[in-house]
Symmetry: C2
Subunit: 225 residues, 2 copies
């Protein structure tokens, strides 16, 4: 299935770009609850996107990210506005995970096409990619913004064929978010779950094609190394 891949389509946050390390830089300002805060933030942020999908109430990911952070700061009794600003700013300048630049370079050398498909709105996504060392790797940076609904709605995954002209069966989709991986697999993409945290597989629809620990295993998985 993966041997037919024409294009690798990556989730951005948590898959290519490292949210945790950016936030870690602000650990001293946040104090002892830094880890709990950032874990809750990511969790609430994603939950709010699912809830807005069910409510038919799309809003830009940037807004949802801020609303989730406000909840988490309140839950942790943190009212210092400078922490909010620092964390939101950190979200705009994430770095790729260590193995990402070499992996993308190897795939490019083999002629593989590469794209991003993200919940992020273009105003937050495109500057982050442009400022990162892999800015030239992607032929398309696809945002859910154009369909007004978040993952794992099928309208999001359909953007790949609409914009890149590749049938779902020839796409290799990669996400570190298990629910995104299942959503993509349920839609019809051969999908690799980048299980960076070694979590159990979620009990969700969609059968995963493979599971890797990080992206360094991808070229050999696709037979292009």
């Amino acid at each position: 299935m993966l041997a037919d891949t024409e294009i690798c389509v990556f989730d951005a946050y948590g898959t290519l770009y490292d949210f945790g390390s950016a936030v870690a830089r602000h650990r001293s300002a946040i104090g002892s609850s830094a880890e709990s805060l950032t874990e809750m933030w990511r969790s609430k942020q994603i939950q709010y996107t699912w809830l807005r999908n069910s409510m038919g109430a799309y809003a830009k990911f940037w807004q949802v990210t801020g609303e989730a952070l406000d909840y988490c700061l309140a839950a942790h009794g943190l009212s210092d506005r400078s922490i909010r600003e620092a964390l939101m700013t950190a979200y705009l300048a994430l770095e790729p995970f260590p193995e990402v630049p070499a992996t993308l370079a190897a795939l490019k050398r083999s002629g593989m096409r590469l794209a991003i498909l993200s919940n992020g709105n273009p105003e937050m996504l495109e500057p982050m990619v442009a400022a990162s060392p892999v800015s030239d790797a992607f032929e398309a940076i696809l945002s859910v913004e154009s369909v007004g609904v978040f993952k794992p709605d099928a309208k999001v995954y359909r953007l790949v064929e609409a914009r890149c002209g590749v049938k779902p069966g020839k796409v290799c989709f990669l996400s570190s978010n298990c629910w995104d991986a299942h959503g993509a697999a349920h839609f019809g993409f051969p999908t690799v779950w980048v299980n960076r945290g070694g979590a159990p597989d979620d009990g969700l629809p969609g059968t995963l094609a493979a599971q890797v620990k990080d992206l360094s295993q991808l070229p050999s998985l696709l037979g292009v190394s």
Copy 2:
């Protein structure tokens, strides 16, 4: 707004019926991770419903509840099948929270109409209500099953007018789940959040009419005590 109420519509799990106390009876069998397990179970269960909504992949709440439990048992390294069976069985025989019988009786005496609107499928919901001391209180036990999608999709909240013939503005909706309360408020129900845990308000669409600590405050809130 609440003064116009013709019918009070309650969420079931966590609002009328106490999930935590039922699971607590099995604490000794589960061991030290009992609290963490049950918290994760409820969280995953609800997340799976939101994800299935986005994927267009409805399944009975009973199935989703079991899939969530399987994830949580794996995440906690628990492989004893008797624990799974005990917890699933516990879910079928939950007790109402202590203040519920007297509250519902007071509302009934005042002529208030009462109903349940739940994610639960009828096979799990109806026996639980029938076996509980408030079995006669409700004119309708409405399940998402008939619309094939979970809360907070508007199709679920529309069931109240369709089945009970009451316009949304004359419904008082009650949920201990903040996201359900926001979903109902966004739909158009005057909504009271039963904030049993004293949590911060979620940053979600929909404006809540009121917030109470438990249901004992409801009759006076509606002016019927």
